[in-house]
């Protein structure tokens, strides 16, 4: 595939093909929805259609990726490298899984508005743009496309007050954070006159950052830190994750994070490679605070969903450890860990979604008691997911953590890895009780868990995820190589650092 001239409309179109396909497809779905939006069948139709769209987008993405798409000359607006493709693939994976897990969930919760899938697709477009942005403008717009979609998705459950509350909280504080990010972009623009990452990097050079550039960097870190739910910008996350419909929570915990982390890594490595001395301490403290708060507070949660919310905060903290490294290895570790985290989290939220039924109160950890006896498959899958989140050998999560630690240790950093493993230790304190409740305790009532049903789609999704967790947990060579190659494509800015 010959390189694309990103400055030309044709080149830009080719470079944005996956996003364009997805956008176009979402319009198509919207059209279909306009006529068919009454019954469950209509909802399923929209869902499967969206799933098809994701596959199509995936195909075009694969085409670009495997074709070795590269920009002609400097990048413009949108990156065209393996890191973007990797992140985009992960986002599509998350999207596809979310769609599959939503199918029956929406039926059960009587949320028969097929626009849901349109929003999911558009959110995915935003995520992909955010993850692939090579320019502050695209970064900001992508972030907004993603955010606005997700705000709506979070408030999608019109029967529950908590869903609306989640949407409001997420929206207000999200807009607030966007303003900070935007201010940061403005200040960086003021310091360099550029919005393109690479050009920013060139203009900032390796000198000490000026006041304006420093402030800009700080505000950008804050804006993206909000999106990855780093402590202390995380406060929205537990409430929003708790209130949103469960598949959306899974989507938020995975897709949004993948996009935000990819953007964070790209911004830091391409725009601020020489300012590592400034952002590394910030990232380090954010990482520590995030790991500690996420894990420790998760320990006290009764609600399974909320516990997973805090746990996802903790995982953001782990990921920040590799972001800290600011190296190719670190970038690879971030991407790889996001893969492991996404797969695992999706599966666990999928199982959680399947255990919920309409009108039921929040699922508490205790509610899972005896699940193994009634639904051994679900319990086993959940246990494997939790162990993977815990970072247990033999699971994908372990390899991911290993990679994160390696990235930090390679830079001579030992404190963060130690905090990371201590955080994992604390996390055992809340993952294990779930496993314990499922396998070691007897169910309280005779017909507990009888309503727990898995649609074929959900079953397949979870099964595939668990298979990935186990297979790649033992044989991770493939994803490792992909992650590292992707990270290497992040390019020039990282030269000289392993």
């Amino acid at each position: 595939m010959s390189p694309f001239d990103l400055m030309s409309p044709m080149g830009a179109t080719m470079a944005l093909l996956p996003e364009l396909v997805l956008t176009g497809w979402s319009l198509l779905v919207l059209l279909v929805v306009a006529w068919r939006h009454e019954t469950e069948q209509d909802s399923h139709l929209a869902g499967w259609l969206s799933f098809l769209g994701v596959l199509l987008a995936g195909a075009t993405l694969g085409m670009l990726w495997l074709g070795g798409a590269a920009p002609l000359g400097p990048t413009h607006m949108i990156a065209l490298d393996a890191y973007r493709f990797g992140a985009a693939a992960l986002i599509l994976l998350s999207t596809a899984a979310t769609i599959l897990l939503s199918l029956r969930y929406l039926d059960r919760q009587r949320l028969l508005a097929p626009e849901y899938y349109v929003l999911i697709l558009l959110a995915a477009v935003g995520m992909m743009l955010l993850a692939g942005a090579a320019d502050m403008i695209v970064l900001f717009l992508g972030l907004e496309v993603m955010s606005i979609s997700v705000y709506v998705l979070a408030g999608f459950d019109r029967f529950r007050r908590s869903s609306a509350e989640a949407a409001l909280k997420y929206f207000l504080i999200g807009a607030f954070a966007s303003a900070f990010l935007l201010y940061g972009i403005a200040l960086i623009f003021g310091a360099t006159g550029q919005t393109n990452f690479t050009l920013i990097g060139q203009h900032l050079g390796s000198a000490r950052l000026s006041l304006m550039a420093g402030l800009g960097l700080a505000f950008i870190l804050i804006g993206l830190g909000f999106k990855v739910s780093a402590v202390p910008f995380h406060m929205w996350a537990p409430d929003v994750y708790d209130g949103a419909p469960t598949p959306v929570t899974g989507f938020m915990a995975t897709g949004v994070k993948v996009a935000a982390f990819s953007a964070l890594v790209r911004v830091l490595l391409e725009a601020f490679p020489a300012a590592a001395y400034l952002w590394q301490p910030v990232i380090a403290f954010l990482a520590i605070a995030t790991i500690v708060v996420g894990n420790v507070v998760a320990l006290t949660q009764q609600s399974l969903k909320r516990m997973l919310a805090y746990s996802s905060i903790a995982h953001a903290g782990y990921t920040l450890v590799a972001v800290w490294a600011g190296t190719t290895l670190g970038a690879g570790a971030v991407l790889f860990y996001l893969v492991t985290y996404t797969v695992t989290t999706l599966a666990s939220f999928g199982i959680l979604a399947s255990t919920e039924h309409v009108g039921s109160r929040t699922i508490l950890v205790d509610d899972l008691e005896g699940l193994f006896t009634v639904r051994p498959g679900a319990a086993l899958a959940m246990a494997i997911c939790l162990l993977s989140l815990l970072g247990f050998p033999g699971t994908f999560g372990f390899i991911g953590k290993w990679y994160l630690i390696s990235a930090a240790v390679a830079q001579g950093q030992y404190i963060l890895p130690v905090v990371l493993v201590l955080g994992s230790l604390v996390s055992a304190g809340y993952y294990l009780p779930v496993i314990m409740a499922m396998t070691m305790k007897a169910s309280r009532t005779q017909d507990a868990h009888r309503q727990v049903t898995f649609s074929v789609a959900a079953r397949a999704t979870v099964a595939v995820a668990v298979a990935i967790i186990l297979v790649f947990g033992v044989w991770p060579t493939g994803p490792l190589a992909v992650a590292l190659d992707s990270a290497k494509s992040l390019g020039a800015a990282t030269s000289g650092r392993r």
Binding site: T23, L141, H203, L204
Partner: protein, 185 residues
């Protein structure tokens, strides 16, 4: 003269903003916000951004704020004594905001010369000059092709991708607003 006018509008903008955040009535707050936006539009003119000034009035003060007022009216939000937080919350807010302001106050001292100096220190004089030339070029463009024409060309060429993204953004907003608003509990 320009700077005097600037400061007049600056003071109005700040005062209106202060009123906006301390006014208990949502409608009054909205009106004060509109006032700030108008002042900013005036300042944009002083800064040479005529087109921006125009759409500031049209989009912001006009469309967006009307939407706000509409919702306020729709919800029939009155003058609520509890609209401000408690004293301790306000104190905390003032303190942290004060600290924030302290961090930002340095921006006041920026001049084009300083920017040029810092840019050349960081990226070398060549790159700095190239970056700073852009401002001049824009002025020439504007002079040559008119206020709108100077903006339109880049919008559909260099900034095509973001421009297209805004269309997606608006689509999302439409779908989202419809989804949220059309349903009854």
């Amino acid at each position: 003269m320009t700077s005097f006018v600037f400061y007049v509008f600056a003071v109005i903008a700040v005062a209106a903003a202060v009123m906006c955040i301390v006014q208990r009535s949502p409608v009054a707050a909205a009106m004060w916000l509109v006032q700030t936006m108008f002042s900013l539009a005036a300042i944009y003119v002083l800064l040479g951004a005529y087109f921006i000034s125009a759409i500031q009035v049209l989009v912001y003060a006009g469309a967006v704020m009307v939407l706000f007022l509409f919702v306020i009216m729709l919800l029939n939000l009155g003058h609520d004594a509890r609209d401000l937080r408690g004293a301790s919350a306000i104190a905390a807010g003032v303190v942290v905001v004060g600290l924030l302001a302290v961090e930002l106050v340095g921006l006041w001292a920026y001049t084009p010369a300083r920017i040029a100096r810092e840019a050349s220190a960081a990226a070398g004089p060549e790159a700095a000059r190239a970056a700073l030339m852009a401002g001049l070029t824009t002025q020439q463009e504007t002079a040559a092709r008119g206020v709108v024409g100077g903006i339109a060309a880049p919008l559909f060429q260099a900034y095509l991708v973001p421009f297209e993204i805004t269309s997606v953004l608006l689509l999302v907003a439409i779908v989202g607003a419809v989804v949220l608003a059309k349903r009854k509990v």
